[in-house]
């Protein structure tokens, strides 16, 4: 019997999750830091195609899911930009397009390990409205769990699903206990282009009204499922004065920072969105709307991409002041968050 506790890298965890999800095919183009997913998938003996670029990987993925194959791709940075072409088709035709976006520093070729600069691109890239599920895991165990969930949600609800991570988490090697995650049932794929009947399936329309109807239908469906999909972690938020908001691995550092701040007598809490699309806005409003909350501190490895989403989605009547800790493309450690929050309180004269 296999030990349920295993010592794995993030890339290995993802590959295991994709296999356990019943995925049968990967399309990909090499790019750091997502390449280990492609090589790990190949080494596991699964079917794959190394395409000529990310555009081809994205469209081949669209073709495969139209044919009924549970398939996926993995990319990063400049590759994520090219992938938006296929993602846009997937969004337009409601295809279960599953992708790992392993963020790297940008703009341009940038760096390859630590960044949260592909948030807006992953959530809203393309010439559409961002009707896609975006999960931002903060550790290896969540990477596994939400990859499994991404495949299920994509095939169940028929929206593209993106696992938004980064080079840091994919290269992190740690112990993951599969027994603790428990059993997850898979949603079966089905042939979207049927074998026994004829469909003519457009993604371009003659009349504005036709397109509008399609968008409206997708919007209604997206809003309907948002309640089921939206997920977050609320940590020590009850009657908190300072509400930290952070996602992904920065969220993990922020969680530790909450403990450290509380040791210093600062009443901090954390709202950590696990899904960035759709956002758990009701939960956010409930937490941020508490009378105790004086400041909402958005911490991220970007110049405000998470902040834009939070400010856009939070109820307008919530009047807590915003503060921003932004280090685009830099690692953010617990100590830095503690110092930043402690500093804020000194500046504003509070204690």
């Amino acid at each position: 019997m296999v030990n349920s506790r295993q010592f794995l890298t993030g890339s290995e965890v993802f590959v295991r999750a994709a296999i356990d999800s019943g995925a049968g095919f990967m399309f990909g183009y090499p790019i750091t830091p997502a390449s280990e997913i492609l090589s790990g998938w190949i080494n596991s003996g699964k079917k794959y195609l190394q395409t000529e670029d990310e555009i081809a990987a994205g469209f081949a993925l669209c073709g495969a899911v139209l044919g009924g194959e549970k398939a996926f791709t993995a990319t990063s940075g400049p590759g994520n930009i090219l992938m938006q072409d296929g993602l846009s088709m997937a969004e337009g035709m409601r295809l279960p397009f599953v992708m790992v976006a392993a963020q790297r520093g940008g703009p341009s070729s940038g760096t390859v390990i630590y960044s949260q600069q592909e948030v807006i691109l992953s959530c809203f890239g393309g010439n559409g409205e961002g009707m896609r599920f975006v999960y931002s895991p903060s550790n290896l165990s969540e990477l596994y769990k939400f990859t499994r969930k991404a495949f299920n949600d994509a095939w169940h609800y028929r929206f593209p699903a993106i696992i938004l991570t980064d080079g840091y988490l994919l290269k992190t090697k740690g112990v993951i206990d599969f027994a603790k995650i428990g059993e997850i049932k898979n949603i079966s794929p089905r042939a979207l282009v049927p074998k026994d009947s004829v469909v003519h399936w457009p993604n371009i329309y003659t009349f504005e009204e036709e397109l509008y109807q399609e968008i409206k239908l997708a919007k209604d469906d997206f809003e309907k499922v948002a309640e089921d999909i939206a997920d977050c972690e609320s940590y020590q938020t009850d009657k908190a004065d300072i509400l930290l908001v952070a996602h992904g691995i920065v969220g993990a550092a922020a969680k530790e920072a909450v403990d450290e701040l509380r040791k210093k007598g600062i009443n901090a809490g954390l709202f950590r969105p696990i899904t960035l699309r759709p956002l758990a806005r009701k939960k956010l409003d409930k937490i941020a709307g508490q009378e105790s909350v004086k400041k909402i501190v958005v911490v991220e490895s970007s110049l405000g991409q998470l902040a834009r989403i939070i400010r856009d989605q939070i109820a307008p009547e919530i009047c807590a002041e915003f503060a921003y800790m932004q280090y685009p493309g830099l690692g953010i450690e617990t100590e830095a968050i503690v110092d930043f929050v402690a500093g804020l309180r000194v500046v504003s004269g509070e204690i």
Binding site: I55, G58, G63, A64, G67, P202
Partner: protein, 227 residues
Amino acid sequence: MNDNNQNSPSKFCAGCGHPIVLLALGKTLEEMGLSKQAVLGLDIGCSLLAINFLPINTFHTHHGRVSPTMVGFKKARQDSICLGYTGDGGAYAIGLQSLLHSAKRDEPITVLVVNNTVYAMTGGQTAPTTLKGQKTITDPDGCKNAPILGPELMRQVADPKAFLARTAVNDIKQAREFIKKAIETQQAGHFSLIEFLSFCPTNWRTKGQETLEYLENLKKVFKIGVI
């Protein structure tokens, strides 16, 4: 997904060559008993208007992206007959990288390229197949360079067993022969591509006999036959 245009009339311009290619395809599939297995992916441009022309499965892709989409579809469903339908711009300009690599990897798909030497739907701009000296919206003084010869270019990278050919819409018999051969090549596990020299009286600004003469003239530059 919808079928809302199923019974509406063809949207191609009067005198367009597309319906001829599509009818040749439809009849050949029917004759081969493959209409049910056939899946016709459509590039964007005039090709997109083929969405409801034949009683077979069709879907739109994006401009230049029909070949990678059909490559993916074929991976998922190997018993299907995967057909990519595109214009010369989608094939040899924006989609060339994917087309070349599909040929290079000998992907078992069939690409049908309708070559009318212009970007027709967008109003007659210069295409990769525009003839040297041909006047277009974007080359009002005439195109300065020779056209890309698609099947000949593919031959440089394709497997020897790949079927690459060029025909014209005024030779239906040959068009159907080539379509049959291309599908058989896909069934044998190899790449196939047919370029159809086609009419575009709207952008050529030709009438009746002139259109036919224009097409015949193209054959001097674009060699007809198996490449």
